[in-house]
Symmetry: C2
Subunit: 371 residues, 2 copies
């Protein structure tokens, strides 16, 4: 077992996309075979009945491996639902925010901001903390936080994909914690006893786009209403039907299963994944902190993301030049989000440390030529 | 240009699955390459930013080819939304069934039955016709139909995947027609001027599961409410954001694009596709009609599906034996739906006529050994 997966193929770029994002190369190699003929069935993985024995095996293995490597307790269900993380932001208040109660939201970036706005369509929503005025370059402190009494739940996004903050602590509330981990799920171990519900769209650390994975504690799930929501927005139906009320996104679930098997074989534990991600991110943060030419968007080391690292040079024109020249040597998709500009290096689990090293080498060269 | 695609690979079965279903082999071969590195970008098709130039091209080509081969008029939008056909059955009444109006539904099988039940959660629903008591072996006649005055819309399913009926006419109503074509879209030309809205989940004739494609007339779309629905259930947002309000199921849209390119190159028109499908289905219907050993579920030739053909032998035990022996010679996934039993041969566009011939040959042999 190695903790340093390497990307060796010469016809592949180091892909720093924020998502959909780089997948492990052994996973893609397996998927190429299985697209044509999976398990010797004579049928490809996209062509299988979702009620047949081949897909039964795919789903069962994906669930078992996800539970095993994530150390998910038995009282948490693993559900697959379509609509990505965005549909979750509607389903959560529709399901868990009854009349007469308030839900707390931390506004720490675009996705949590949008989630809070969506919740306010369906019930009473309180902003428990916000750093919007500082362009989300840090997280709200506990001293700044303003919790509701007896909140229905407290919602936060563990990692901000655009601005590059990441929680290394938990909101100090007794309300059930609901966390969007779309951009950092399985980048590190999860303390399940802190959460009522965790969810992620797959397209950063777990697979392709178009699928959300939800881990939800049974007692929290049981507080959802019965038979009033649109069928596909009903967590109870998803649980009772084992994520097969309708035809699921079978390819996404297959590919997530392969990614989770890769985590198991390549790292063995989420603690090992975390160690590797910290090592990768440190290469880039060290470069940013030791150069007058580059600056990081987030300065507090306790709040810096290991997944998404936005940074800039000294001028927007140089940023553009940086992105263009990097692309020439196959350091791809380094543009920052349109709301913040500059560059962003997304380095999910599947980004090999060689990608971070290559980026740092290029940064040094670019600085020497342009500073 | 040939109208007889052949399935020649020896490690592939003839896959009669009702969906997810057989894909064209050239499409799978292309997908295997593009999973690794698409357009020479160094990135695989599941790893592309949905805002990047490679995905822009994939989406634009898919839309253009879908519009061209389908002869879709300019006043119809093509939208991609997650949640498959099932979420559409919630979204349609939530969007187009205002208080004080009634929607007409034809109950002609499981999916239309469930759609009608879902609509009744959100507004006034009228069953305009039903053949449930006859185990859906035929469609309601116009004489039996009971339309509402000034209905908000009239909903029907063009092809019943489970029971094997298919409409070759249109409900005779002035209400806007909304049609679920999940299991027969692009099996034949579509008379667009008859419909306000058509939709399909992709996993039968257009690609993998986990994605719906919606063709909707602009004036009908504009009657949807503003800003009150969950964001991902809002057709107007999907249209304004060109199916990219959130991260779409990029792989499904890519694969649909490849399937539509295949239809263009292999058939050249939906009229040619229809001719091929009629020829394929006739092989099986002729066999069923000329054997005392087999019987079809649907007898009216005007209502027989070219896509899904449920049939039985003379006894349930023989049906089981048939399915098992067929699987031995790579005629796969021939089990009937659990609600009807027996066998079902689904023969979507991508099923080569050689598959139908191989099935008929096996049926003759099985009859001679077991009649």
């Amino acid at each position: 077992m190695t903790t340093a997966p390497t990307q060796t193929a010469t016809d592949r770029a180091f892909n720093f996309s924020a998502g959909p994002a780089v997948l492990p190369e052994p996973v893609i190699q397996q998927a190429k075979k299985d697209l044509w003929n999976v398990f010797g069935s004579g049928m490809g993985v996209c062509e299988l009945s979702h009620r047949g024995p081949e897909y039964d095996r795919i789903l069962e293995e994906c669930l078992a491996d996800t539970r095993e490597i994530g150390n998910i307790p038995d009282n948490y269900h693993i559900l697959f639902m379509q609509g990505g993380a965005t549909l979750q932001t509607s389903m959560i208040p529709m399901s868990f925010l009854p009349a007469g109660k308030t839900a707390d939201y931390f506004d720490t970036g675009k996705w949590s901001h949008d989630a809070a706005a969506e919740a306010s369509k369906f019930g009473s929503m309180n902003i428990a903390g916000i750093t919007r005025d500082e362009n989300y370059c840090r997280l709200p402190t506990e001293a700044e936080s303003n919790y509701s009494n007896d909140a229905a739940y407290c919602f936060f996004v563990s990692n901000n994909t655009i601005y590059g903050t990441q929680y290394n602590r938990f909101p100090n509330t007794k309300a059930p914690l609901v966390c969007d981990m779309s951009s950092d799920i399985y980048c590190r171990p999860i303390e399940w006893n802190k959460y009522a519900m965790v969810y992620a769209s797959l397209q950063k650390n777990l697979g392709p786009s178009g699928q959300a994975c939800i881990m939800i504690r049974d007692d929290f799930l049981q507080t959802a209403p019965d038979d009033t929501l649109p069928k596909l927005m009903d967590y109870k139906i998803a649980q009772k039907k084992q994520s097969r009320y309708n035809t699921p996104n079978t390819f996404a679930i297959y590919l997530m299963g392969q990614v989770v098997k890769w985590i198991k074989s390549e790292f063995g534990s989420l603690a090992a994944v975390e160690k590797y991600n910290i090592e990768k991110a440190a290469l880039l943060y060290d470069m940013l902190d030791n150069s007058p030419f580059y600056s990081a968007h987030v300065n507090n080391p306790d709040e810096r993301s290991t997944m998404n690292i936005p940074f800039k040079t000294t001028a927007p024109d140089l940023d553009k030049k940086f992105i263009a020249e990097a692309a020439q040597i196959n350091l791809s998709t380094l543009s920052g989000h349109r709301s913040i500009g500059g560059m962003r290096a997304s380095m999910y689990n599947a980004m090999p440390i060689e990608g971070a090293r290559a980026l740092v080498e290029f940064m040094k060269k670019f600085e020497s030529e342009n500073a």
